[in-house]
């Protein structure tokens, strides 16, 4: 497919970008590259660090647009439109909330009436930060809404530091990590508790 055809196809869409800077007729796009502005477009239309939308004309020149939900990510901008080589990876939209699911399986001798919690750095490692939902006697689940790109370290407890999870050697394990990616999922098998065995 020719560059001209690619640009012609792109002209029908708007792209969601985060401007890094705008000077003269050059627009630096975060995580992407440097585009040219269309004739008559002023840099005043772009605020560095604030998401906005652009459309491309047949020459690959950018014009600001109203930001809409259907705007394509910056990664979809054709490479041919860039003056400076773009990256293949897209800029992360950290305003997007994604669900990350944590499944915890507890050992058989866990007291059946006890709740299970996750503890994260977000609360200063409060041992009863978020109570998990019970699935069955030995299976608990929690679905977190995280910003895309998040990386949340967590540990599993039964509500206090005295009953935090331990590994098979009864040592404190490293923190587990829940990722802010679409439909991310992490499974934790608790080997032992600090107060049992």
């Amino acid at each position: 497919m020719t560059y001209a055809l690619l640009l012609a196809l792109a002209a029908a869409a708007s792209f969601r970008i985060v401007p890094l800077a705008c000077t003269g007729d050059r627009l630096a796009v975060a995580g992407a590259g440097v585009l040219r502005l269309a004739d008559g477009v002023s840099c005043a239309a772009f605020v560095p660090g604030r998401a906005t939308a652009i459309a491309l004309d047949a020459d690959g020149r950018a014009t600001p647009q109203k930001l809409t939900q259907d705007a394509l990510p910056a990664a979809k901008i054709p490479r041919t439109a860039f003056l400076l080589a773009p990256a293949a990876e897209q800029n992360v939209d950290e305003s997007q909330l994604v669900t990350s699911t944590i499944d915890v399986f507890v050992p058989p001798r866990t007291p059946p009436g006890d709740d299970v919690y996750i503890s994260t750095e977000r609360s200063g490692w409060s041992p009863s930060e978020v109570r998990m939902d019970r699935v069955d006697a030995r299976h608990f689940r929690l679905t977190l809404k995280l910003h895309r790109g998040a990386r949340v370290a967590f540990r599993v407890t039964r509500g206090s530091f005295g009953n935090t999870e331990r590994d098979a050697a009864r040592a404190l394990p490293p923190a587990h990590v829940a990722l802010g990616e679409p439909d991310a999922h992490v499974t934790v098998n608790v080997a032992a508790w600090a107060d049992i065995d």
């Binding site: 400076l84 800029n91 939209d93 950290e94 910003h147 009864r170 802010g180 065995d197």
Partner: protein, 545 residues
């Protein structure tokens, strides 16, 4: 039970404040030198992505004297990389540069400079010396798109210690109905296991407030609500070495009640062994404990020694088998232990020659079986455990325990699940030939807390029963919301009108997220018709990011 010390609450409050002031004047933790500060017309922080955004004029200042300014800045605490966007300038001593965007690596000596007009990228150092042409790596110039209103903290000034913490001055926790402001807030993002440690006792509510921090230490004030004493202020010092070791010391000062001093230490010794030590001190005395655990493949053992300032000491050495397959997925496990109890002046007060029994050795066996979670009719699942223990003493005495649990789960839909549980424990404290000496019939009736005589207690001769049944209904309409209603009934012996566990308890828990960045978990429990009261309400409360 709260103990009055003859100190007025106001004095207690003054003492708590004095502790705080002293701690502020003499911090136990050496605060690590800040590597960077970020200022802006607004600075917002997202806890889950560990991202800082400064807008309306952003200034980044490094400890080595490098300063950078731009229209906006993004600082990724996971990678210690700052992106300054729009009319960016940087200066270090007499050297300076201007560009469209600048990337500053805080923890390494690298600066990337983007000139959009010329379409060039150059690389230099914090000293801003001669720049070298560099390949354009667009990901280094990534500036994520965020909604500032979803931030966890809003501020104007952030002081960053890489891999450790960030302090915001001032700080506000924004909600849709306004922000909750504090003069300063220290957010620690080190993940070392010791930062999750505590030497404080459990509390209904515990909100830490970091005072000073470093990659290896944290001094924090804790606002607490404790069962019994109520409101309390505590100070805790943690010293941490990654996931391998920690020491935590605390001073807990309830506004009404006695102070509690605590210590908790842990050290991992290779891949198989750990050493632990803890201590608690109150007006009633001090309890100290040391322990050692060992893993032998899937089996293991532990040694514990506890000593109180009252002269009581206990020692226990235990070995356990791994869980071994039985039938149908069930497993069994055997644990054996040996140890002693020792008390100056003798342990067995009931005997005329009790001084002969200052130290009494014991040994025990514990056999348990656990079934897997199995499917049963009506779409439910069931799991059970059985446990039998006997402890023999170096005196005509043994103690037997037999217990069992069963837990049934019945999901009605993806969002509604019913749970039913049964737990029973039967124990017998047996003194062959001398049972009546150790469990004599009371000459006068035992009185319950409201003064009601408990005549049935006369039947208690060392055999106890604990039985409880519970039913829980859990509804989870969405990821952030959970409702749970629990009814618990107990049938124990001895148990009567305030003596022992309440017979009926109803509990409700709600977890929800009223604001995008703040969640609440509120619980309310009632004990019914117990100890002469119609009901006894209890709250539990937790704030989650």
């Amino acid at each position: 039970m709260a103990v009055r010390l003859g100190v007025t609450p106001s004095r207690r409050l003054v003492a708590a404040i004095a502790v705080t002031v002293c701690a502020a004047a003499f911090p136990c933790a050496a605060s690590a030198r800040a590597s960077a500060t970020l200022d802006g017309g607004s600075v917002v922080f997202f806890a889950d992505t560990l991202a800082l955004f400064a807008r309306d004029g952003a200034t980044l200042a490094l400890a080595d004297g490098t300063r950078a300014h731009a229209d906006a800045a993004y600082l990724d605490l996971k990678t210690d990389r700052a992106v300054l966007a729009g009319h960016a300038t940087a200066a270090h001593g007499a050297a300076n540069l201007a560009a469209d965007a600048i990337v500053v690596e805080i923890d390494t000596n690298r600066v990337d400079v983007l000139d959009a007009a010329n379409g060039t990228v150059t690389q230099t150092t914090h000293a801003l010396g001669a720049a070298q042409p560099a390949a354009f790596d667009a990901q280094r110039f990534a500036f994520p798109e965020v909604e500032d209103r979803g931030a966890f903290i809003r501020s104007k000034h952030a002081v960053i210690v890489p891999h450790a913490d960030v302090r915001f001055t001032p700080a506000a926790f924004p909600t849709s109905v306004g922000g909750f402001p504090v003069p300063s807030y220290l957010y620690t993002f080190s993940t070392g296991a010791g930062f999750a440690s505590s030497s404080l006792s459990g509390a209904t509510f515990d909100q830490p407030y970091g005072l000073w921090g470093s990659p290896h230490s944290l001094t924090a004030l804790h606002a607490r609500w404790e069962d019994g004493p109520g409101a309390a202020l505590a100070l805790q010092q943690q010293i941490v070495s990654g996931d391998d070791a920690f020491a935590a010391a605390s001073f807990d000062a309830p506004l009404h009640g006695y102070t509690v001093r605590g210590f908790n230490g842990y050290r991992r010794l290779g891949s198989r062994y750990t050493a632990i030590a803890d201590a608690t001190g109150t007006i009633f005395g001090t309890v100290m404990h040391g322990g050692f655990t060992a893993a032998f493949g899937p089996a293991g053992g532990r040694v514990d020694y506890t000593r109180t300032s009252g002269g009581l000491s206990t020692f226990d050495a235990a070995l356990r088998t791994p869980d071994r397959p039985l039938i149908g997925g069930a497993t069994w496990r055997l644990k054996g232990d040996i140890g002693f109890d020792s008390l100056r002046g003798g342990l067995l007060n009931q005997l005329p020659d009790r001084r002969r029994y200052a130290t009494v050795w014991r040994h025990g066996l514990d056999f348990s079986v656990a079934t897997p979670v199995v499917h049963v009719p009506l779409g439910a699942t069931l799991s059970t455990t059985l446990d039998a223990q006997r402890t023999w003493y170096a005196f005509p005495h043994h103690f037997d325990t037999f217990g069992g649990t069963a837990f049934l789960t019945k999901p009605f839909s993806r969002k509604v699940t019913l749970f039913a549980g049964y737990q029973g424990t039967w124990s017998a404290d047996v003194f062959p030939g001398t049972q009546a000496l150790f469990y004599p019939s009371p000459s006068t009736p035992v009185l319950t807390p409201d003064g009601t005589p408990y005549y049935g207690y006369a039947a208690f001769t060392g055999a106890r029963t604990f039985r409880s049944q519970n039913v829980d209904l859990q509804v989870t309409p969405d990821a952030s919301t959970s409702y749970r209603l629990t009814v618990v009934h107990t049938a124990d012996f001895p148990q009567f009108n305030g003596y022992g566990r309440p017979q009926w308890e109803v509990r409700g828990d709600v977890r929800f997220r009223p604001f995008p960045n703040i969640g609440l978990d509120v619980g309310r429990a009632y004990d019914f018709a117990w100890g002469g009261t119609r009901w006894v309400p209890r709250w539990s409360f937790a704030v989650t990011p």
